[in-house]
Each structure stands twice: as C-alpha cells, then as structure tokens.
C-alpha cells in the first residue's frame, strides 16, 4: 500500500523535471509543456493530501488548476503563434527586445 510520502516524493521529482525543462530548453513549446508537467506535479500533491485528510477539497482545487492550465495554454500558445509570425523562430533567445 503506497503511503502519502510516496506521492509527495513523486510530485517533487515531477516538479524538478518540469523546472529543469523550463531552465534548460530553448524551445517555447517545450517550455510550455514543462510548465504543464509542473502543474500536474502540484495536482498530484493536492489529490494525495486531500485523500490523506479525507476531504474533497484537494480534488476541487485540482479542477481549478486544470481550468487555469487550459486558460494559460490558450493564451501562451496564442503568444507563441504571434511571436513565430514575427521572427520565424521558437527560440526564446530571439525575443529579448524587452530585456533590460
């Protein structure tokens, strides 16, 4: 029988993988996918702790996180399309006009 600790460690590992993706990849789409991995790592923590505490609140927060993830994906991908139209590349290094 897996314990709460199993799920928390899995969540930590997934979150680290997502963070590594955001830091190390040079492709806007892969960066957005890594953010999805991080959101899912948080989701599994919410559901596991909700199960541990015996409430449905963890699952409900998970639904809200999914909604926010859908909104974020829609706006993020619209930005990616718009940026690709301007520069014909997906590398974040090409979009540094606002960098100080």
């Amino acid at each position: 029988m897996p314990t709460l600790n199993h799920f928390l460690i899995l969540s930590g590992v997934l979150f680290s993988i997502g963070t590594a993706g955001v830091f190390l990849r040079r492709n806007l789409i892969t960066i957005l996918l890594s953010i999805e991995i991080m959101l899912n790592a948080v989701n599994i923590t919410f559901v596991a702790v909700g199960r541990y505490l015996g409430t449905v609140d963890g699952q409900i927060i998970t639904f809200f996180v999914m909604t926010v993830a859908a909104a974020e994906a829609a706006v993020g991908l619209a930005l990616v399309i718009s940026l690709f139209r301007h520069r014909e590349t997906l590398s974040p290094d090409a979009f540094t006009s606002l960098k100080w």
Partner: protein, 171 residues
C-alpha cells in the same frame, strides 16, 4: 500489489516526463506528455479520485494536448532549428540556478517528510466512498466553492478573448 502498481505508474510518469523534456522533436514531446498524463490518471484512481482521473484524461489529454498538437502542426517545425545553441556562460548560469533550486527543493521535501514521518492513508470505507463520490464533489463545488467557480468562468472568458486577439493576424 498496490505498491507494485504505484511504482509502475510512477515510473511511466517520470520516464515520459523526462522524455518530454529531453526530446528534440516537439511532436514527440506532446505525445510523451499524453502518456505521462494517462499514467497520472491511473495514480488518481489509486488515490480514490476517479472523477479527477476522468477529468484529467478528457480535459488534459483531450483538450489541452490537442491545442498543443494544433500549434505544433501549424508552426510545422519538425526539429529545433538550432541544436541547443545555448552559449556556455548562459548554460553555466542556468545550471547553477537549477542546482540551487533543486537542492532547496530537496531540503524542503526532506524537512517536511521528516516532520510528518511515514503517513498511511485512512482505509475507512465510508471515508473513501465520500471522497470518491461525484455527488460530494458537486455539492462542495457548487456550495462552498461557488464564488471561485463563478470567477473561473470569467477567467475562461478573458483568456478566450485574449487568445483570439493575440493570435489574430494584423490587418
């Protein structure tokens, strides 16, 4: 037996996520992420959250990943054009930040786990059935969390309008 299932599902999730981050072909990344979400749905079932598992498949693997696939096909980039052409100084700086963050995360997780010790889930059947029941989720969602639910609809409207405006071709 359940522990074995957990390790199989967790292993699939972690390996698929590693593939997402390391694959050079965006299409493969999206497909591997769908595999990862499927295994995560299995983990939700193990946590007595079948409704969340179904939502995960329908909303995440169904809707959000189709959106990603559309964009990958629309941009038609089979591979990354530059083979990870990150300057050495930037790579070193990113690695340093990443190592710092992961060490901090590991310390936090270890501290938290040492505080709570090994915690097993409750096995009271009444407790479990009240968690996994869709009726209970609906009751809590539309009474206690009704305000957040309504605000979410505004958020979705805003993001829909925003996506249309941002992605519109300039006249």
């Amino acid at each position: 037996m359940e522990l074995f299932t957990f390790y199989v599902l967790a292993g699939v999730t972690v390996l698929a996520s590693l593939g997402v981050v390391s694959s050079r072909v965006p299409m493969h990344s999206v497909m591997l992420l769908i595999v990862s979400f499927g295994a995560l749905a299995g983990l939700y079932v193990m946590l007595d959250a079948p409704f969340t598992a179904v939502t995960q498949i329908i909303v995440y693997a169904g809707a959000i990943m189709v959106l990603f696939l559309f964009v990958v096909m629309l941009l038609n980039q089979h591979r990354e054009d530059e083979p990870e052409a990150m300057p050495a100084s930037l790579l070193r700086r990113n690695l340093r930040a990443g190592v710092l963050l992961s060490v901090l995360l590991a310390i936090e997780v270890a501290w938290g786990l040492s505080r709570v010790g090994v915690t097993t889930f409750g096995t009271d059947p009444g407790d479990v059935s009240s968690i996994s029941s869709v009726a209970h989720i609906g009751m809590a969602l539309f009474t206690t969390h009704a305000f957040a639910f309504e605000v979410t609809s505004v958020l979705i409207l805003v993001s829909m309008v925003g996506a249309v405006v941002i992605a519109r071709r300039e006249p």
